[in-house]
């Protein structure tokens, strides 16, 4: 069952708050339900939730947006950033998002550490609770929350 408080608007508000507080970048829902460009240069952040509510969250972020986000977080020039900083940034953003979403889910539960991989790594064989496409600096980001059934 999907918790009633876990609405698309609630998730969007959390993301907008994170983007505004830490990145000073605008992010808004993508218009007209576009297709996500899965073959673009992307990073996928993933955090698992264990406990009364089990599942995981993915954030798929174009590397160009990861670079802008890392520039804001590290406060250094883009050409001084490496792959480590981009992955750190996407991992931390995914973790903050998961931590904030956790407060809308049944307790107690806890978060895994974030894992960041290259490319589009969103499973298509899991139960999707929410899937949101957002637009930042003209690029699409995808946030998906999956639920895993508890094993007996």
């Amino acid at each position: 069952m999907i918790p009633p408080q876990l609405t698309q608007i609630a998730i969007q508000e959390i993301i907008e708050n994170i983007w505004d507080s830490f990145l000073e970048l605008e992010i808004q829902p993508a218009a007209d339900n576009p297709e996500f460009p899965t073959t673009a240069s992307l990073l996928t952040g993933q955090v698992a939730l264990h406990g009364d509510w089990q599942g995981f969250l993915t954030l798929v972020c174009p590397k160009i947006i990861a670079c802008k986000a890392a520039t804001a977080m590290f406060n250094i020039a883009p050409d001084a950033l490496g792959e480590i900083e981009l992955r750190d940034t996407v991992g931390e953003l995914t973790h903050i998002l998961a931590g904030n979403l956790k407060s809308l889910l049944p307790a107690p539960s806890h978060l895994s550490l974030p894992v960041v991989t290259d490319g589009y790594n969103v499973p298509d064989n899991e139960t999707t609770v929410a899937n949101i496409l957002l637009q930042c600096e003209g690029r699409l980001l995808q946030i998906t929350l999956f639920k895993k059934e508890k094993s007996a």
Partner: protein, 121 residues
């Protein structure tokens, strides 16, 4: 006055430092550690006056770090800066002796309000 910032994300440590400056605490001497083990080592070498620690970290979590400090008899004011701020986590933090818990994302105003009890500007 020295503050120890503990977080496995170097991006977040940068943001905490920047937010401290924005909150009017740019004069603080800052030490950094990437997990609870490194933080404990740092405390042994040069104890800070205040600790800001993430909760969820590899090797030794923030809570395990705080418990280790308690076992060793340290009385350094300790606060969590963490993504998870459920009532359950707040209760655990208080029970372990944390003075405050700041949830991410945070603002300079939150830092200023929290720190006024512990640090002079």
């Amino acid at each position: 006055m020295k503050i120890l910032i503990v977080d496995d994300s170097s991006a977040m440590r940068m943001i905490v430092r920047r937010t401290l400056r924005e909150a009017g605490y740019g004069h603080l001497e800052v030490q950094q550690a990437g997990d609870g083990n490194q933080a404990l080592e740092s405390v042994h070498k040069d104890p800070p006056d205040l600790i800001f620690s993430d909760w969820n970290m590899p090797n030794k979590s923030g809570l395990e770090f705080l418990e280790a400090l308690n076992e060793e008899g340290y009385k350094i004011p300790f606060g969590f800066v963490t993504t998870e701020a459920t009532s359950e986590m707040r209760a655990k933090a208080t029970q372990a002796g944390a003075r405050f818990l700041i949830s991410k994302p945070f603002t300079a105003e939150t830092f200023a309000k929290t720190l006024e009890s512990y640090v002079k500007k």
